[in-house]
């Protein structure tokens, strides 16, 4: 499974921080692969709406988190504006963003 995470928007645009970060779980050590797959499953990424939450009315500088999952021919994308209230999705985002930071 290939998982991509991107932080879109925010007070300023930073090319590297705002770039999409992709990980192919097949290339990861077993433990990390399992961790991501579990988080994706718990967050029901394949099943939830493409736009989980939209920014409030007339907002500005709000960040939107975009998660894309690919498995063979299957592709699904979820967009969630902050604050992400879905705890499972928040955990997945937290893990992926921290991981890409290292």
């Amino acid at each position: 499974m290939i998982v991509t995470v991107q932080v879109d928007g925010g007070f300023a645009f930073f090319p590297k921080l705002n770039a999409a970060k992709t990980v192919d779980t097949e290339t990861l050590p077993t433990e990390e692969k399992k961790r991501i797959e579990t988080l994706v499953k718990e967050a029901r990424v394949w099943d939830i709406s493409e736009v989980l939450s939209e920014p409030p009315r007339h907002p500005a500088d709000v960040q939107t988190f975009v998660v894309t999952v690919r498995d063979g021919d299957r592709v699904h994308q979820v967009r969630a504006a902050e604050p992400v209230t879905d705890a499972a999705l928040a955990s997945l985002l937290d893990f992926l963003l921290k991981r890409s930071d290292e």
Binding site: G9, A12, P56, H58, A60, D61, Q63, E82
Partner: protein, 353 residues
């Protein structure tokens, strides 16, 4: 006399109508704000019917849009992602001792004072709206935003970013989003979105210059100065004076902002590049303000503000329309010399040929 005016308004427009005006889609206008305030006032009137005359007069005075109403409320999210959070400082209270809380309070004050003293504007909606800010949002949160009714500020991760309240122009920027939403309501997408962002940089920068009593030629014209930690190779998030030069860092990348229309960035990210292309109108403002000399708010700022309130500045305005309106306004307000300076600024950034 003020009391009489309000009574007659409440008598003419029934509350349900005020409510529907208040909720209407054309909503982000000062008219809607006034309707909403009036609706609130109607409720105040109904519930306070038995109050004595003196007290009623005071309530009227506070809610009447013409009377300056500075009312700041600062909350802490205690590093959660729920806001507004816990109220920690309100108007005229003593400093809290927490730096972010006090910076937010003081920054809101400096912003309110700028709009009131220089532009005659009574808070964001021009009818004395409370200024609400939440600090300590999230954990290691690298952002600040306007959610449509209040400001939210993060502490930064401490590695690359420190707290977002420490740059006065960032506070002024967020509050200016409120002003834009209550005036032109520029759509947050593409060129109108970049104009929306630019308005926030322009007014945020003027708030800082006014606070420091800085002339246009003495100002740094930087947005987000001091928020980067010393780990970052850069001075700020954006430079209005020299777009594209604010930072160049291995972790963040290079400042992508264009200084000219020929470098305009076409993208679907960031609502069509609103935080990238805002540098073009930003630079036009900088060029005009410095060409005119003196303080940026004396002429350039007043022209921008007058255009922001003009009905001709439609929600989906592009750079060319905005440039034309500012040139026309410059002529109307200050004559040909200033109009020519405005024209030269827009030509320099390639918006007008």
């Amino acid at each position: 006399m003020m009391l009489k005016k309000v009574h007659s308004l409440c008598g003419i427009i029934p509350p349900y109508m005020l409510e529907s005006i208040s909720k209407a889609e054309l909503a982000n206008t000062e008219g809607r704000a006034a309707a909403r305030r009036t609706l609130a006032l109607t409720t105040v009137l109904q519930t306070k019917r038995r109050m004595d005359g003196a007290r009623i007069s005071r309530v009227m005075a506070v809610k009447d849009g013409s009377i300056p109403h500075k009312n700041r409320r600062i909350y802490t999210c205690n590093n959660s992602e729920s806001y507004p959070g816990t109220l920690v400082r309100s108007e005229e209270s003593d400093p809290n001792g927490d730096t972010a809380i006090d910076e937010c309070y003081e920054g809101f004050g400096a912003t309110f004072d700028f709009y009131k003293k220089i532009l005659g504007r009574n808070s964001l909606d021009n009818t004395g709206m409370d200024l609400i800010g939440s600090v300590h949002y999230g954990k290691s949160y690298n952002n600040a935003f306007w959610n449509g009714s209040q400001m939210i500020f993060g502490d930064g991760d401490g590695i690359y970013f420190s707290r977002f309240t420490q740059a006065l122009e960032v506070i002024g920027h967020e509050l200016a989003h409120g002003v834009t939403s209550y005036t032109a309501g520029l759509e947050y997408q593409g060129q109108s979105g970049a104009l929306n962002e630019s308005m926030s940089d322009v007014f945020g920068s003027m708030v800082k210059q006014h606070h420091l009593r800085q002339k246009a030629t003495d100002a740094d014209w930087l947005i987000g100065k001091g928020i980067f930690t010393n780990q970052v190779q850069g001075v700020a998030f954006r430079s209005m004076k020299a777009p594209g030069t604010a930072y160049n860092d291995p972790h963040l990348g290079k400042d992508p902002q264009p200084a000219h229309m020929k470098e305009f960035i076409h993208t679907t990210e960031d609502n069509g590049g609103v935080h990238k292309n805002c540098s073009i109108p930003n630079r036009a403002f900088y060029l005009l303000a410095t060409a005119l000399g003196g303080y940026s708010w004396e002429k350039a700022g007043r022209i921008w503000y007058a255009v922001l309130r003009q009905p001709e500045l439609v929600k989906n305005a592009d750079f060319v329309l905005f440039a034309k309106l500012t040139c026309e306004m410059a002529l109307k307000m200050y004559g040909e010399t200033v109009r020519d300076a405005a024209l030269a600024a827009w030509k320099a950034v390639g918006v007008i040929n």
